[in-house]
Every structure is written in C-alpha cells, then in structure tokens.
Amino acid sequence: MIRFFWKRISASALSLFGASLVAFFLLRASPGDPARLFLGPFAGEEALKRVRADLGLDGSPLLQYLIYVRRFLAGDWGFSYSTGQPVATLIARRFPATLELGLYAFLIAFLSALALALVAAYRRGPVDGTARAISFFTMGVPPFWFGLMLLLMFFEALGWLPGPDGRLSIKVIEPPRVTGLLTIDALLAGDFAAFRDAFAHLALPALTLGLTPFSFLFRLLRANLIDVCREPFILVARSGGLTRWGAFLRHALPNAFMPTLTASGLLFGQLLAGSVLVERVFVWPGVGALVTDGVLKQDFSVVQAFILLSAAIYVVCNLIVDLLGGVIDPRLAVSGGDR
Amino acid sequence: MSDPLLEVSNLCKVFNFAGGPRSSERQLRALDGVSFTLKRGETLGVVGESGSGKSTLARCLLRLIEPSAGSVSFDGLDLLALPGSELRRFRRRMQIVFQDATGALDPRMTVGDLIEEPLLAHGIGNAAERRRRVEALLARISLGPDVARRRPHAFSGGQRQRIGIARALAPNPEFIILDEPVSALDMSIQAQVLNLLKDLQQELALTYLFIVHDLSVAEFFCDRILVLYLGEVMETGPSSALFRGPQHPYTASLVSAIPAGHRRERRKRLVLQGEITPIGANRPEGCVFRSRCPVGRDRAVCAEIRPRLQSVANGVEVACHFPGSLSA
C-alpha cells in the first residue's frame, strides 16, 4: 500500500513539473511582446529591456525557468500590468469566490446525481427513462442560458432569490475573513443574516454551474450500477437473505462507485478552474473572469500563473481521488496502481 | 512418411512483468524443458490444469508469443529462426481453434467474413473462389450457406465452435492446435464437435494437438497424451496406456478424479491436497509436483533432484523417481 501511495505521489509531482514547463515555454512561444504591452507603445528601448528582464524574458530559457520556479514557490507570481497589482494578490482575492461556488456546485451535482442514479438503476423501466431524459436535457442545455432562465424565474418573476449582484447584497456586511468562503465565515462569526444572504446568492449560480457535471456523473454512476448489478455476487448476496435494495446499497453501490470517484476528481478540478460564462452571468468575482481578461489583454503574468494554478488543482484533485481509490478498492493497491 | 511433423525440444517460457523494487518476484515460469514429437496424422493430447502451461505451449508453437529457450521444428523447418515474412507463409500450414469461441470471433463481422478472413490474409484465390470455399466449408460443418450473412451472436455455443473450426480449415492447413475446443460445451454438443473433428482428420489428413483438461475426452480422442504440471512434462505415452496404468502420481490423480460415470465399480478416489501455486523466478529444488504428491512429499530425493523423463514400458515416458507407485 505504501508503495502505491508513493507511486501516485511521485507521478503527481512529475505532472506538476510537466505543467510548469508547459506554462513557461508555451507562453513564451505565443506572439506579442509582453514588455511592450506592459509599457505601452511609446516606451523606450531601455525601459523595454528592463521590463523584459523583470518578466524573465531574456537570458537562457533554462535559467529563466529556474528563476521563475523559485519566485513562484516564494509567492511571487508576477505582476499584472492591466490591473496594476501583484498576481498573487489578485488570485488570492478572487479564488475563494470560485472555490466556494465550485464546492457548492459540485455538492449539488454529486448528491443529485447519486440520488437519481440510485433510483434509476434500481427501478429501471419508466422511472429510468425519465431520469435519462432529464440528464439529456441537462447535458444539452448551455449553462449560461440556463442561468439566465433561472434568474428570470426566481429573481425577476418570483423575487425569491437575489439577482446578479455578486456574492453578497450591498447592504450586508462581509463577515471577518477566515477561509474566504463567505458561508463558512458567516457561520464562524455567528452572523446568520450574512449566512442566509451569502447562501441565497450562491443558490442560482451553483445550480447553473452544477448542471453539466450532474448529467455526466449521473450517466456514469447509473451505467456502472447497472453493470455491477449483473455480477454474480449481487445475486449471491440476495440468496443470503439481503433484500434487493439491501444488496443494491451494500454491494452494488460501493463497487460502482470507483469509476465515478475518478470522474468526480476531474470534474471538481474543472469547476475550481473557474467557469467564465457563469461568473459573467451572475457577476461573480471569481478567477474565471480574471483569467479571461488576462488573455484578452495579453496580461502575461496572470495567464501564466493561472495555468500553473489550475494544473496544480487538477493534479491534487486527481491525487486525492487516486489515493482514496486505493483505499476503497484494494485491488488497485495490490497491483501497485498499474491498471 | 515416418519423419515427425513437429519436433519440440526443451521449450521454455518465462514471463517477465514490470519490475518493482524486487524484480525477481515478477516472473512466471510457464514452460520448462518441454519436449515431444508429433507424427503426421497423429493426435497428441496435452493435458493439464490451470497453470500447467498448456495454453502458453500452444501460443509458443505458433509463435504468437516467443519462447525464451528451446527449439521448434515443423516439417524440418526451424520455426524460431524464421523471419517475419516467411513466418506468415508458414502460418497457412498451422492453425488454431480456441476454447472460447465467443471471444475468438469478432462479434461485428459476419460468419462469412470470419471464415474468409484467413483466405484474404494469405492471398488465397480471387473473390469468387473464396466465396465458393466459404460455402463449401459451411456445408462441411453442417451449416447452410445463408449462415454466412449472420453474426456470431445468433448462434449457439456448439455452432460457434464449428464456425471457429471452419475458419481454421479455410487456408487448408496440415496441423491444427485445438485449445480446449469442447470444454465449454454441453455433453451432446461436445460429442457432435468431437465427431466432426475426427471426420475432418480422416478426410483431410490433419495432425492435431489437442489441449484438454478432461482426461476421459483426451483418452477418447487422442492417440498419445502429454501430461503437464506447472510447465513441466510429467508423463507422456499412448493414451490407453496412460489411462489404464498411469505411472506418474499426478496422472494417477487425474485419472482418479474422472467421475466414474455409470461404470459399475468405482475407482478408489485419490484426492490431492493443496492447490497449484505458480512458479516465480526461482524454481523449487527437486520435483515441481512434490508438495502435493502423496508419494514424494516427504522423500528427500524428490525434494532435491529434479526427475528426468525416462522410458518405461509400452512407449510411456515418466518424470518421476517412483513411477508406478499409485497404479491400482
């Protein structure tokens, strides 16, 4: 088992290393002169050279790469010329918003997919058909349209939920920042009004963002459940006295869970990397909007930092999922993880 | 023609798996020192349980996997030395029928395409000739020509097995390896397929290598039998001799494990202890069968010296220090 863990961790480290290389070199290959963009069209050659040195664009690539890595690890993620702030600060300010939204979206998607898949796989027949129809719908619907529709219904027409004005109503004061996740911070501070408000603001965007992951997770889990139900040991469990539902929960679900777990890791990583369109629709101050701006304005440092950050998130999510998998399904650990 | 069609000498195969920190753990000795000859028109049965190496043997003979050591000579040709292009030409003459007919037949191809495939692969005949041959083969296995358009899943296990046989016959081979062709079939279907194989052998002067775990089928169908255990030859000889008077304790236990059926007297049951444990990198000293052998379990010579194949009466060869100890 230790060997399995070790293999997985070193594989992750290798992936991170690869991602950093990509972030570094690919960006250098892209057209446009970041220094010039930074300083504007009237800058002199001297200034340009200085900025280039700052950005690490001169000198041997290897040396620059090492400097870049060292700076990154020290917390210096570069400077965003378009906003005039250090990238680290920008991301630190905006990431919690994306994280909170991603968490809730994932939770909604996962739990509803789980519930629906259980019912669909167990009952089959028309119930299953309806469930699959729902999943097709959610798969095909563009999230931003869905978000707008939700806003139309619940904000505009019914007035039950707040509109697209960010994470908190203007009137409500932000609770003291502990984690950056407003709902958690509000609970920690005992500020239930803020909690309710933050939660209400999260509802529609989380539903919107969770739409596509939900459909994917549902289909995956349902298919796995149906496959596992065909295995002999399910019938064996029933012959020992378990009801059909009992055998389904105790034996089919844990076995079907593995591939879904892996997919969940990927999906969660994706959610954390920020969703631009949803953030735009709900005016959510997250990382997605930040990075699109960075790309459009060719704000070099922002994009570079973001590539590395999202790669790191992916790798960590996958690592956690892999390690969990090894614990749940001992067969994976035995083979040293060589599937 | 008394020269043998197939001569196998000291065939060995070791599988290596992706090495961990201790690579010695990740080896599997599938075959070790297997030698035998096969005369034209003969049927040799290879008998063994799981882990005996019989499937590995089949694949090595066709060079579907490469042996680690030893030699295989087919009609005088050194098979292992053949370069790729000539190997393909030689494959026309040697075919294989697999146990799992369902798995061996591509479910997306029609039966006609499946049988035609070897003809295409070896460039035999033009389109019209191939079609005629496919029809003739289908008739030979007692399936009508309209079958050619359908897919394998529409047929029963026995029919699929016959399709597999037709496919093997397509390029007109001299030698067919049958890898457990009837093990998965019901008794009456098994009888049909065995009859078909026997008829074909007579009509087409075929030579068979018949891999099987059911010794009574082996005794019925084969002229000679080779008994394998963990990749080594335990005993070999004419099938009736082996069956009536098994010399090796393992053969004796296999014979005794055959259910008596409706015969009146029941043989004394010889039940082996323990199970087959595959051999890793280090072959244990002495006889591979010793740990389960009622005769040799506690004998020093069995623990220290590996028995070599020696001739005893009736054309039988045994690898045992105490042959004949368990004959009834």
């Binding site: 002999p232 012959s239 020992g240 006295g241 | 008794m187 059911d214 005794e219 019925f220 259910p259 015969r263």
Partner: protein, 336 residues
C-alpha cells in the same frame, strides 16, 4: 419415513420475451429428505438454473413463477412476501453458484462477508463471537490458517478457495437445504474432486439436503443417490443413480449417456443427439423430445400426446419416466 425437508409440487415458471412467452419450468415436482443428495441433470436451456432461482424466490422479471407449491420444513414458501422470504434465504435454504470468481464482493474482506452472513440471520450475535464462528467455518471448509485469512480479499484467492468460502457462507446458518448450481464446473479437475469430497463430509455431518444441479452426468453418478433428468423444463426421468445410469428408461437419458466419451467403450464416432433443443416459446403439444428421439420420432402418439409420468418399477421410490414407450423399453432388456 424420514423427514422430508423440501417438497416441490407442480412448479411452473415462464420468461417473457419479445417473441412470446417461454415456458422455462413445466410442472416440476420432487422431494428431498434430510441428508439426501439429489442431482438435477440437464443441458443448457433445460431450466435447471431457473429451478434453483425459483426455489429461493429469486426469479426476477422477465421471469415469473406461475404456479406450484414449495414446502420447506413444512411451510409453503412459493408465494411468501419478500419480507418473510429474506429471512429464509441463507437461513433455511442456501444457494451456491457456479462462478466462484464473481461470487464474492471484490471490495470486502472474506471475514466481513462471512460475518455479514452470520449476523444477518443471528442479529444478536456480537461481532467478536461472529468472527470466532467465521474462523470455525473456514476451518470446516478446510481453509488453513483461518484466523489470518479473515482479512484477505477475494482476489487473493484461487477459484477453489473462493468456492470453499462460498460454501462456508452458505452453511453458516445451518440451512436444511443446500442448492448447488454447477458448483464445480469452473474448477480444475483435481480441485473439483476436493470440493466434492468436502460437500460429502459437510452434507453427511450436518444432515443437509443437497440438490446438485449440473450438466455433468459422470459427476452425478459418483456423488448422488438419486437423479432427475431435465429436458425442456420438465423432469423426463427420475430414479436412483444406479438404475438410471445402467438402465435408462427415457430415450433422452440414454442418448445423453451414450454421448459421454467412455474409455472402456470401443472408440469411434460418438453417438449424438440429432437436432437442437426445442424453442421454449413454441413447444409442441406432444412430447418435447419427439423431433430428436430415436425411438419416437414421427410416431403418431409421440407427436400428438404429451407423455405422462409413468412409474417404472424396481428402480427405487419415485422412479419414473415420461415416455410413451418407457415400459416397453424396460421389458425389452438392457439397451446397448
């Protein structure tokens, strides 16, 4: 009269398919006494696995039981609601399946699966006591080093060992009836012999009634006292093993016996049964075996009248065959 633990009478079941309803079990009747070993023999599609499932009430749609009585330990369980049925499965009647490789939950330890089985029907049993019992059970099925093995996962085990674990689970709560559906088919020959010997010991020691379902006729002769031969959902012949094997009354049994390679018989072509098993959706009104029968093919009575069970004398209790010409066959002497 010894205790009858299982009495089945008129059991019938069907399968709904797109092209009609297939009659999988047709009026099946038999009984089992404690400690008795009865074999049900037949080829694929004859309905023997359906019988096993029906006995445990595990016949799921599209299969359905449509009639009959199943009396287990005096109680009719054929139409019992699921709530009560689940208390009986694994407790009074157990089932062992063919495929040892897929029969155990791959992500749970052997020990936990055994303990689960024990505590399902003995809810008062404490965990530690259940573990002790599990170790005892493993010992009973001859698995060495049982204490340590509780923490193993199924993939650590070979097919033979997994089957032993299956048997341990099946007998954990001391059932009266054990139904074994092809328990040794997937195993090596020498392991088969071991497992059968184990069965013998357990069944004798605990006085369990064993229903052995198999397609392997030879196995039956060695191991069971009585045999029922199944064809197209019906028992076409029943009797003691010695009688049925040495003097079969039904042409199907006879043909089946002849198709087994027998080293003591002269070599040559094996006699086979012409044709294929019948389509269970379109069974003839006469004898289902008639199209393939060397004796009855084409005969008017075989084509139009379904044969009724006829007692065949001198072959033990319950000896019978469903053939218009059974008596004729018997009096004509031993058929070669």
């Amino acid at each position: 009269m010894s205790d009858r633990v299982l009495e089945v009478s008129g059991l019938s079941a069907v399968f709904a398919t797109r092209e009609g309803t297939a009659a999988a079990l047709r009026d099946v009747s038999f009984s089992l006494e404690a400690g008795q070993r009865l074999a049900v023999v037949g080829e694929s599609g004859c309905g023997k696995s359906t019988l096993a499932l029906a006995l445990l009430g595990l016949l799921d749609p599209p299969g359905q039981m449509i009639g009959g009585l199943i009396r287990l330990n005096g109680r009719d369980i054929a139409n019992l609601p699921e709530r009560q049925m689940k208390a009986i499965r694994g407790r009074e009647i157990s089932l062992i399946f063919q495929d040892p490789m897929g029969s155990l939950d791959p992500i749970k330890t052997i020990g936990s699966q055994l303990v689960d089985a024990l505590r399902r029907h003995q809810p008062g049993l404490a965990r530690r006591a259940a573990r002790r019992r599990a170790v005892e059970l493993l010992g009973e099925v001859e698995i060495a080093d049982a204490e340590r093995r509780l923490g193993d996962y199924p993939h650590h085990y070979s097919g033979g060992m997994r089957q032993r674990v299956m048997i341990a689970i099946a007998i954990a709560n001391n059932p009266s009836v054990l139904v074994a559906d092809e328990p040794t088919t997937a195993l090596d020959v020498t392991v088969q012999a071991q497992i059968l010997k184990l069965f013998e010991r357990l069944v004798d020691r605990r006085r369990i009634a064993l229903l052995l379902i198999t397609h392997n006729l030879s196995l039956v002769a060695d191991f069971c006292e009585s045999v029922h031969v199944m064809y197209a959902g019906r028992f076409v012949e029943c009797g003691s093993v010695d009688a049925v094997f040495n003097r079969p009354a039904h042409p199907y049994t006879e043909a089946l016996l002849k198709s087994i390679p027998d080293p003591e018989r002269r070599k040559g072509r094996l006699p086979t049964i012409a044709g294929l098993p019948p389509d269970l959706r379109r069974l003839p009104k006469g004898c289902a075996f008639e199209p393939r029968c060397p004796l009855g093919n084409g005969r008017q009575i075989c084509v139009s009248v379904a044969p009724r069970r006829q007692r065949v004398g001198g072959r033990g209790e319950d000896a019978s065959a469903e053939c218009h010409f059974a008596a004729e066959k018997m009096t004509a002497g031993v058929v070669s």
